[in-house]
């Protein structure tokens, strides 16, 4: 579906030091620095896949999405989407994709949402029968029936995002690009949006590419992750494999009769990170020490009243990844 090979894009950015003198100087002579937004990028995405595209700010995420959606022309490399080169057959290409920019609305601010939809129907030349069917389906799945007659400016952020997503799907795109679709949404709206995207992918086989900083989005939606940093794909794999590899640390909190930190003897792979009169927190390395052994070691030395074992968050994992690849 999407095929990207050795894609490169370099931007020239004017640089100058602060101050009036340098401002004047740069007026006549500018120094440019080259930024490799995309540096020999390679990946393929199959039909019906749902992929999380992650990376720190400035890693090249939005440049990639712009190339894939035909807005930006790369310097070199191959990129085909559904058999087409996006920027060469722009109009044919964009008819097949839907793009949701979390921060950039395509709804008309002052007219009821339904008017934007009918306008999009004509822009994309969707036949009336297909439009009806899509609209009914989207209205039901996203709960829009009350919103369609409301002008966009009177919608809450969550309501607007639901309408925004519906607007980008009116023409039945084969591929959906989502750029921060849940940014700023409350918990209920977030879950509604996620459930819908999942259902759409499952039922219609829509290929979804999701860029986000929200790790819950990634966790809830995608099985495959593409990690980009400094214009390159650093990691391409399943979320589970990543977790197995990196989330080896566990925090074990124990409520107990009392522990003496000085006389405590702990097996390898286990350290005491917090100690209170009746509570202690240990960190475990599960590659060295199974959790059951850790529990056994503690219960041999004190009476355990209660115990909990926690995974570090996905955010921690990502931070760890960024650090390992020295990006971010």
């Amino acid at each position: 579906m999407i095929y990207v090979k050795e894609l490169c894009k370099t931007f020239r950015v004017a640089r100058r030091d602060g101050g009036m003198k340098n401002t004047l100087k740069s007026f006549f002579h500018r120094e440019y620095t080259e930024i490799h937004a995309l540096d020999h990028l390679n990946f393929t995405i199959g039909e019906g896949e749902m992929v999380g595209y992650i990376g720190p700010n400035g890693a090249g995420k939005s440049s990639t999405v712009k190339v894939l959606s035909g807005i930006l022309v790369p310097d070199s490399g191959i990129c085909t989407v559904g058999g087409r080169v996006p920027w060469k057959e722009r109009t044919a290409h964009v008819a097949q994709i839907g793009v949701v920019f979390g921060q950039r609305s395509q709804l008309w601010w002052d007219v009821p949402v339904i008017d934007t939809f009918t306008l999009l129907r004509d822009i994309y030349s969707v036949p009336e029968t297909i439009y009806r069917r899509n609209l009914d389906e989207l209205t039901e799945m996203l709960g829009l029936s009350q919103l369609l007659r409301t002008p966009t400016r009177q919608l809450s952020l969550g309501q607007r995002m639901r309408c925004e997503i519906a607007a980008s799907l009116i023409h039945d795109p084969k591929i959906l690009f989502l750029d921060e679709p849940t940014i700023g949404l409350d918990a209920v709206s977030k879950i509604a949006v996620r459930d819908f995207i999942k259902a759409r992918n499952r039922e219609r086989g829509t290929t979804v590419i999701l860029t986000t900083h929200d790790m819950q989005d990634i966790e809830a939606l995608t099985e495959r992750i593409l990690l980009i940093g400094r214009g390159r794909i650093l990691r391409d794999g399943s979320l589970d494999a990543l977790k197995r590899e990196y989330m080896t640390e566990r925090h074990m909190t124990v409520l107990c009769a009392g522990l003496d930190a000085d006389t405590l003897s702990l097996p390898a792979g286990m350290t005491l990170s917090e100690s209170h009169p009746d509570r202690a927190v240990f960190s475990l390395d599960t590659t060295v020490l199974p959790v059951s052994d850790a529990i056994a070691a503690v219960s041999a030395q004190t009476d355990i009243y209660d115990l909990s074992v926690e995974n570090p968050s996905l955010d921690t994992l990502i931070t760890h990844l960024y650090k390992e690849y020295e990006v971010g």
């Binding site: 959606s69 035909g70 807005i71 920019f101 950039r104 002052d110 007219v111 306008l119 822009i123």
Partner: protein
């Protein structure tokens, strides 16, 4: 993938037109205020001409109704482009805010997408005034109206619309290279409007006429057909000069296209 039968551009234009109209009507008082404000400000320049002639009767051999004939076509051309090519007029802002990216995502020609992106109905005040001045000038000028002269007048109107529209497209094209909209362009659009209120030879400057003939063809839309209309020139070619603005339009669209290509390759 199935291809749907394309909704023709003129029908889509109609849909956009009614959308813009409805959006404008959402703010009735703001609409009315800017409508009247617009009418008043453009009336001021009308009165300036009127007062001048009240004192001197003719300027450089031209009568009031003759000058108003010039003024009317300029006014009509300027206001039509201002209402319908607002998307190009505010283009720099659209590029900066990124809403131009959204237009690139539509399966339509870019020129069309920008054209329908904005329409400014509050500016119809100037248009209305244009119609009034036109009505007055056409009925009061000492012109023996023949089909040929009527045709020449219509060509003048067309030429002025094309001329001012071309300028706005050029202005939009230039902002790909500067990002900021260039105020310099206003010299030609607003300056052209003010200069064009009178027959161009009134200023007695030959370089000015040459400039507005060959580089920025305002004179082709206004001065030459005007000479034909008032019987100062007999050659029929004078009546056809407004068509030259179409070439200017093509050049401006060309600059805009180059700009789009540059934008797509630099993304800024």
């Amino acid at each position: 993938m199935k291809q749907f039968k394309k909704v023709p551009a003129h029908r889509l234009y109609g849909t956009f037109f009614s959308m813009h109209l409805r959006a404008a009507m959402e703010y009735k008082s703001s609409f009315l205020m800017s409508f009247f404000g617009m009418t008043l400000t453009s009336l001021a320049s009308f009165f300036a001409i009127w007062l001048l002639f009240d004192r001197f009767h003719t300027v450089d051999g031209y009568t009031l109704s003759e000058v108003l004939l010039c003024y009317s076509v300029i006014l009509m051309g300027f206001s039509v482009s201002e209402i319908f090519l607002r998307g190009f007029d505010t283009f720099a802002g659209q590029v900066q805010s990124g809403s131009f990216d959204r237009l690139l995502l539509r399966p339509r020609s870019l020129l069309f997408s920008v054209l329908v992106s904005r329409m400014e109905f509050a500016r119809t005040g100037r248009f209305l005034q244009g119609i009034l001045v036109t009505a007055y000038a056409v009925t009061h000028a000492d012109i023996v109206w023949t089909p040929a002269r009527a045709g020449a007048y219509l060509l003048m109107l067309l030429g002025c619309c094309v001329f001012f529209s071309s300028l706005l497209i050029l202005q939009a094209g230039v902002c790909f290279f500067t990002i900021e909209g260039l105020e310099v362009m206003n010299i030609f659009s607003h300056g052209g409007k003010e200069l064009g209120s009178y027959p161009l030879d009134i200023y007695g400057s030959r370089p000015l006429i040459l400039f507005f003939t060959f580089l920025v063809p305002l004179a082709c839309a206004q001065y030459y057909p005007f000479l034909y209309l008032t019987g100062r020139a007999d050659c029929g070619l004078y009546a056809l000069t407004p068509l030259w603005t179409l070439a200017f339009l093509l050049v401006c669209i060309g600059v805009w296209r180059i700009g789009v290509r540059k934008y797509q390759s630099t993304g800024s």
